[in-house]
Symmetry: C2
Subunit: 265 residues, 2 copies
Amino acid sequence: DVKTIAVMNQKGGVGKTTTTANLGAGIAMLGRAVCLLDIDPQCHLSLHFNVETADSPSTYDVLVEPMPVERVVRPLTDTLSLAPASVDLAGLETQLASVPGREQRLRQQLDAAPLPAEFILIDCPPSLGLLTLNALAAADEVIIPLQPHFFALQGLGQLLQTVSLVQERINPRLRVAGVVLCMFERITRLANEVVLDLQAFFEDARLHATPWSGAKVFESVVRRNIKLAECPSHGLSIFDYDATCNGAKDYADLAEEFLEMQAPV
Amino acid sequence: DVKTIAVMNQKGGVGKTTTTANLGAGIAMLGRAVCLLDIDPQCHLSLHFNVETADSPSTYDVLVEPMPVERVVRPLTDTLSLAPASVDLAGLETQLASVPGREQRLRQQLDAAPLPAEFILIDCPPSLGLLTLNALAAADEVIIPLQPHFFALQGLGQLLQTVSLVQERINPRLRVAGVVLCMFERITRLANEVVLDLQAFFEDARLHATPWSGAKVFESVVRRNIKLAECPSHGLSIFDYDATCNGAKDYADLAEEFLEMQAPV
Ligand SMILES: Nc1ncnc2c1ncn2[C@@H]1O[C@H](COP(=O)(O)OP(=O)(O)OP(=O)(O)O)[C@@H](O)[C@H]1O
Ligand SMILES: Nc1ncnc2c1ncn2[C@@H]1O[C@H](COP(=O)(O)OP(=O)(O)OP(=O)(O)O)[C@@H](O)[C@H]1O
Ligand SMILES: [Mg+2]
Ligand SMILES: [Mg+2]
């Protein structure tokens, strides 16, 4: 049974791509088969692993043709693979504007031909548009990378509202796994205030039946660490770039915590 | 004569909103009349100044009705005003998908009824879609906030290509003023490498006639400074929040450098 995770937050620059790449690589290092899907027209997840995105099939073709995802997947290691994005994804919203069921094209392809992986992680663009809706329609769980700043917190309501709409109308199994705090700087007052707000929010949420009533703030926090910003320019995960740095420790902890949360296989 | 500036970069979280808010406030503090336009469905620029975005006219109405921008502008100080955004902007791309000239609706409204301001700064969402195209079609100049990281540098080619297309097809006067380095951490090797790459890029660009052949990397750099992330939660510009911090000094310098670049009035 494949578990599909949408890594999303419409706020820009909060660590979505960095988390998809390194949480994915961390899970794969623990021996579980992981496929990463890049559906952001910026192609940053593809770039992170130095996978060429021009002149070869991509998730754009999956959504437009449509075609099965496995035809665009590239192996990275024995347990890690990647379906690259394309800049052409930027035009999808207009291209499919009048096509019924346009938000379920990814799910249709994954249902028709399931990928030979245990986990699929989808890196979303910074918006709540058609591409992110396709990821939410196809996902079992949502992981929300969040920088503990004012703006990053502000958008959470809108984000959860979108998740709720998708859960009610097209994907009843969708639920929020939790929030991953990224670029965390323990010494700032702002970060600690935001964390308290978030924890209180999810505590309260336990009382009502929503897609996030079981969600939490992951205990594994990803600290700000320049090596996480350096590793993509070498085409490497943080583990291959510098296995002893804080970034590698934090994402390794997160991978373990994530796997512990999964129902026993 | 009004000068209109699009503050844009499709990479998320690079300092677009922070720059629009504080560069705008800095120019206004020097006695020049500035109007800030928020066209991001996240409404972060509106939020930055604590301007309510539900239940009142916004840039969404300007683009959809359409209606003159002046009808949605709210005064903040004697020399600073703001046209708020709305979450409804998120649906614009689909709503106007088959409307000819949909990228020029903002420009039409600004041309029909020019705002009583010397400078207009437009905060764009993290994408190259219809909202950003409206800003580019209406703008005289582009300012590109950029975090000196690998991903932020990667998207520059795509960004400039989009500017070039807009300049060729719908707005011949459009040119790139320059790149503002945001969240700059002098001590990191990565930042210094990226700066050298950027400077070399713009040096070379002087040789060909492009919309960015006169562009430069602004000498005023905005250092990483947590107060810049704190001030929006108080609804204040950095100058009103903490006039003595690095963030205020950096944006004051930037405002002066920006004004020096403008042709003598
Ligand atoms: N923990 C961290 N410490 C330092 N830098 C980080 C960290 N996490 C991410 N970064 C860097 O911060 C920037 C933003 O991260 P990233 O690109 O992963 O965010 P994103 O949410 O995917 O952005 P977008 O909204 O554009 O897709 C990148 O340059 C990345 O290298
Ligand atoms: N120089 C700085 N030092 C510290 N924090 C900063 C600085 N500039 C911006 N920030 C913070 O970093 C985050 C990203 O900045 P901002 O929201 O302005 O970027 P943006 O490009 O507008 O993002 P988006 O792509 O989501 O619109 C915000 O939380 C902001 O408060
Ligand atoms: Mg990303
Ligand atoms: Mg912004």
